[in-house]
């Protein structure tokens, strides 16, 4: 039996853009990085259902309610695709959920902000899903097969999310003065947190090195953020919304927008648990999980009983 240089095989695949699959040999740190990133992504999808769920019973029409329900159901599905991808790396979903509840695993900071008015549902779909799409489109080319395939599936579903949000904003901007004010207020509160979704500037992003080398991450935080800004400014202008950044201006030389300073203190505060809704998001999740325990146990008990019957 000849000796296989596993690391070399792995690195050659990465170099040639051949996906790594679940049973392939991979460096421990590659596996760890993926578990952290994919589970954080999965938790974000699931926790992200809360700010929107807040408005299901208060949606302004039956049409709006049906759309919002479908959108939130999609996000639950996205969480499941991603847990499923993480599990191919040899970790169980119960363990991933435990890590979330213990505070060892994070979720996207954006979901620690409250959804105060109906316009926030518009802003979330348009800006938060919009930012997520830019990131996820890039991740379709990530080097780990199951993660990449989950991203492809997710991206197919996301454009409806962004469009329904933008439609809400457009309708409100075409409405009464009070509705326009409400839409602009939501814009003002969500713009900066949406920019923070892409993470720290490239110059001080702690995880980037290996993630780029191993092609888990295909484009840098700043590149992705710039993409998002460049396509969103025009959409805001079309419906008459103002981007709450006095320093935002077109840079003819680089053919994209320059933007103002991001408040990284706020980012760190929220990440460290001091955002407006951190505690509420986590206690809701824990409560739902605990209240589901008897259901999971009952179904397991029923299944065990059926198996016993068959074997008798």
């Amino acid at each position: 039996m000849e000796h296989i240089d596993h690391l070399k095989v792995f690195e050659t695949k990465i170099e040639q853009d051949i996906n790594i699959e679940a049973k392939d040999w991979m460096p421990d740190d590659y596996r760890k990085h993926l578990i952290r990133q994919i589970s954080q992504h999965a938790h974000s999808e699931v926790i992200g259902m809360q700010p929107e769920g807040n408005w299901i019973t208060r949606a302004p029409s039956l049409r709006a309610k049906k759309i919002l329900l479908a959108k939130i159901q999609d996000e639950g599905g996205h969480g499941l695709y991603l847990y499923s991808a993480a599990e191919t790396l040899g970790i169980g979903r119960d363990e991933l959920i435990q890590q979330l509840h213990d505070g060892k695993a994070k979720y996207s900071n954006i979901f620690n902000y409250p959804s105060l008015t109906w316009a926030d549902i518009g802003a979330i779909g348009w800006l938060v899903d919009g930012a997520a799409i830019v990131n996820q489109v890039s991740l379709q080319r990530t080097s780990y097969g199951p993660y990449s395939r989950a991203m492809v599936r997710i991206c197919k579903e996301e454009s409806f999310h962004q469009r329904q949000g933008y439609e809400i904003m457009a309708k409100m901007m075409a409405g009464t003065a009070a509705q326009r004010e409400m839409a602009q207020d939501a814009m003002n509160r969500w713009w900066w947190p949406a920019l923070m979704m892409f993470g720290p500037h490239d110059t001080d992003s702690p995880h980037t090195g290996n993630a780029v080398k191993w092609k888990i991450k295909r484009q840098s935080n700043d590149t992705l953020r710039q993409k998002f800004i460049d396509k969103t400014v025009q959409q805001a202008e079309v419906i008459g919304l103002t981007i709450p950044d006095p320093d935002l201006k077109w840079n003819e030389e680089k053919k994209s927008y320059d933007h103002g300073e991001i408040n990284w203190n706020e980012f760190r505060e929220v990440i460290n648990g001091n955002g407006p809704c951190n505690r509420q998001r986590m206690s809701n999740h824990i409560k739902a999980h605990e209240e589901g325990e008897w259901v999971r146990k009952a179904a397991s008990a029923y299944s065990n009983k059926q198996k016993l019957r068959v074997s008798q």
Binding site: D74, G77, Y81, S84, R153, E157, K297, A299, S300
Partner: protein
């Protein structure tokens, strides 16, 4: 029920056929305590927009996969048999429909 452990249930691999007549394709996995619940979960997770007309479910631990380390050796025997492909053969000039 007291002695049943709280788990996320066993995992099942989901294969979907997008249209009658086409091959089944792996979509991902779901958790389910038994095949009925796994089937419901597969429908809710992977079929929200006419993704297909049929589902196959297989318990994950029943999947037998080839070993990636052996791939080269294992799939090698089919590499050097060009005569298994139609382009290997020389057809006489002027012959039609072959």
């Amino acid at each position: 029920m007291e002695n049943v452990k709280d788990t996320q249930w066993p995992i099942w691999e989901v294969f979907i056929q997008s249209q009658p007549g086409t091959p089944y394709k792996h979509a991902g996995s779901v958790h389910g305590s038994d095949k009925e619940i796994a089937m419901q979960n597969a429908r809710d997770t992977y079929f929200r927009r006419n993704e297909g007309t049929s589902i196959w479910l297989v318990p994950t631990d029943c999947i037998i996969a080839s070993n990636p380390d052996d791939a080269e050796m294992f799939f090698d025997p089919s590499n050097d048999k060009a005569y298994r492909h139609p382009t290997f053969y020389t057809m006489p000039e002027g012959a039609l429909n072959i």
